[in-house]
């Protein structure tokens, strides 16, 4: 069973009374079991130490009132009871959902749109355009936050300067919670387009041209071709982009740390930031771990729902 690529005829099992045979069989098995074990060994250890161990520890913590030092003291489900009555937790969670629901479609549309333009043969200067649009990929979430903070500064930003030059009144990009969230969403789309664009370009190039031509001959216009040929053709990529962007948005942290720090006040504190604040700044490790477990369940649920949705469509 070690390796299906080895033809079974080469290793007759029953008809080998000669001990040499079994020995070579043994050796072969060792080859096909031990070699891969050596190859994956380091990553298995890393997986156990940095995923399984903290994962299990987090689950244990969530049932304790651990504060970072001393012995673990189990308090049952008290953390979860408190959590589900905690309005700041709900605020953070619902703000995270809002952010995800608004930013994922924007990322999807902008990366697919850009990719579609970049594979269209009618467009000139595609290589240069691709490089420019790809540049934000190089920039860290922290610096993306800095860049957009600088653009949308309420009293000093470029955008408000342009607005007031055109005769408008400056917009409250940082003191109005919803506008601040809007800036975060723009920044996320700006930073997230590049990578997803690459995925879409690869997918769009894989659509057989004959299909599009056939649709054209049948009289389908550009939109109908896109809707009925291109979109189904890139469905697996779409699914992946949406899933990855959703998970990414749910755990958005660094960019917001730099851009708004969850402000104004705590209005735009997202869930990971909430966990970080509770767990590290207030060292309520047990409580923060309970919140982490809820986030984990949410992420898992999102993945499962999307997987199921994808399967149904397929």
């Amino acid at each position: 069973m070690a390796n299906p690529t080895v033809s079974p005829a080469a290793a007759p099992k029953v008809l080998s009374p000669v001990p040499v045979r079994t020995k070579s069989q043994q050796r072969r098995r060792n080859r096909y079991v031990i070699a891969p074990l050596i190859l994956i060994g380091v990553n298995v250890v890393l997986f156990l130490v940095f995923f399984v161990w903290p994962g299990a520890l987090g689950l244990i913590y969530s049932f304790t009132d651990y504060r970072g030092v001393g012995k673990l003291h189990f308090i049952g489900l008290a953390n979860f009871q408190k959590l589900f009555a905690d309005s700041t937790f709900y605020a953070a969670l619902s703000r995270t959902f809002l952010y995800t629901v608004l930013s994922v479609p924007l990322v999807y549309v902008s990366s697919l749109g850009v990719a579609a333009l970049l594979v269209s043969k009618a467009v000139r200067g595609r290589t240069a355009a691709k490089v420019v649009i790809f540049l934000p990929w190089l920039i860290s979430p922290i610096v993306v936050g800095v860049i957009w903070k600088w653009m949308f500064g309420q009293d000093f930003g470029f955008v408000n300067f342009v607005i007031s030059t055109l005769g408008g009144s400056p917009v409250q990009w940082s003191s109005n919670g919803n506008l601040a969230l809007m800036v975060v969403i723009f920044a996320a789309a700006w930073g997230g387009t590049a990578f997803n664009m690459l995925l879409f370009i690869a997918a769009l190039k894989n659509i057989p041209e004959a299909l599009l031509e056939a649709a054209e001959l049948d009289g389908a216009n550009a939109w109908q071709r896109f809707r009925n040929v291109t979109l189904p053709g890139i469905a697996p990529t779409s699914f992946m982009v949406i899933l990855l962007s959703t998970i990414h948005a749910m755990k958005e942290f660094a960019m917001i740390q730099a851009l708004t720090n969850g402000g104004p006040g705590t209005e735009n504190t997202l869930i990971v930031q909430y966990i970080y604040k509770t767990g590290f700044e207030q060292s309520k490790v047990g409580y923060a771990s309970a919140a982490s477990m809820v986030l984990m369940v949410v992420l898992l649920a999102i993945a499962l729902i999307q997987l199921r949705f994808n399967r149904k469509k397929g």
Partner: protein, 301 residues
């Protein structure tokens, strides 16, 4: 197959070139008609994407006094490098730079190597163990570090990695994307190659190191660039692991500038621009490995 043989051969030969020519003409006309608006649209989008970056970079060349003086101008009235010098000296930037470079380079080398090993094993040895580990790797994408901040901190502390660069390097070596990229690549390598090497008496590990690893060079480069970018820009691991400002990486240092009560914008802009430079350089040299890479290969599975 069937339909091709069913067609009368002569009719096919005559009809197809005519139809093709007409179709091409039609498409070419359509293309030129659409070319101008589509090109315009694309470059408008390019402008929108470039503007924040351009504004940010041009601002970093402005003296502090000019940054906030209305009316703002796109280009600095007076060009200066003062912000960069201040950032480099006042914030102990050289040290952060070195720390970040160490972490990014060492982790990248390790990630590429171990991802290649694991990806190869998952692609070419199909047994219970490798199948199970494949699912485990898949699970890591569902359980990101952000979700288990506190326990991860405990683990790092108990292992004695707290406050050391090794504490950032070691946990980051395992990446699902890297493993998937190599697995996907090795799945496309024909098994015959493996068999003939075995018949020639090569040991399993020798096959991997002498034949397979050299074959995977394109993926190796692509993952190296990806990994370098991930590690250079990483914020969450340094944040958990590092406490002593002396071992800060760039991202944590930048965050401490931007998180201050009164932001020192000239220093922040200078520091941010400097922090981007190495990646821009890497990208300029190796861009074909990123832009032409079928990145979906690793993730699609």
């Amino acid at each position: 197959m069937a339909s091709a043989t069913d067609l009368p051969p002569i009719a096919g030969e005559v009809a197809i070139p005519a139809v093709k020519a007409a179709r091409n003409r039609g498409r070419r006309e359509g293309r030129t008609r659409l070319s101008a608006p589509l090109t315009g649209l694309l470059w408008l989008v390019v402008g929108i994407y470039a503007l924040p970056l351009l504004w940010f970079i041009l601002s970093s060349f402005k003296p502090g006094s000019e940054l906030f003086s209305y009316p703002l101008s796109m280009f600095p009235r007076e060009w200066t490098f003062q912000g960069f010098f201040d950032a480099w000296e006042r914030v102990d930037f050289a040290r952060y730079f070195l720390n970040t470079a160490t972490v990014a380079l060492v982790t990248t080398a390790l990630t590429v190597f171990f991802s290649a090993c694991t990806g190869y094993a998952l692609a070419k040895y199909n047994n219970k163990g490798t199948r199970l580990f494949f699912v485990c790797i898949l699970a890591t994408t569902m359980l990101p570090t952000e979700v288990i901040l506190n326990p991860t901190f405990t683990v790092i502390r108990d292992l004695g990695l707290y406050n050391s660069l090794a504490g950032i390097i070691v946990p980051s070596v395992l990446t699902a994307t890297g493993v998937f990229m190599f697995r996907q690549f090795f799945l496309t390598v024909p098994d015959d190659l493996l068999h003939s090497a075995r018949i020639d008496g090569a040991s399993e590990l020798a096959i991997f190191f002498r034949i397979m690893l050299p074959l995977s060079r394109p993926i190796l480069f692509t993952l190296a660039i990806f990994s370098f970018q991930w590690r250079w820009n990483d914020y969450i691991w340094p944040l958990i692991v590092l406490n002593d400002p002396k071992s800060y990486t760039l991202q944590v240092a930048l965050r401490s500038i931007v998180g201050a009560e009164n932001i020192d914008w000239p220093v922040l802009l200078g520091a941010s621009v400097i922090s981007i430079l190495p990646l821009v350089l890497v990208f300029a040299v190796f861009q074909k490995y990123v832009l032409n890479a079928d990145v979906s290969a690793g993730l699609k599975d």
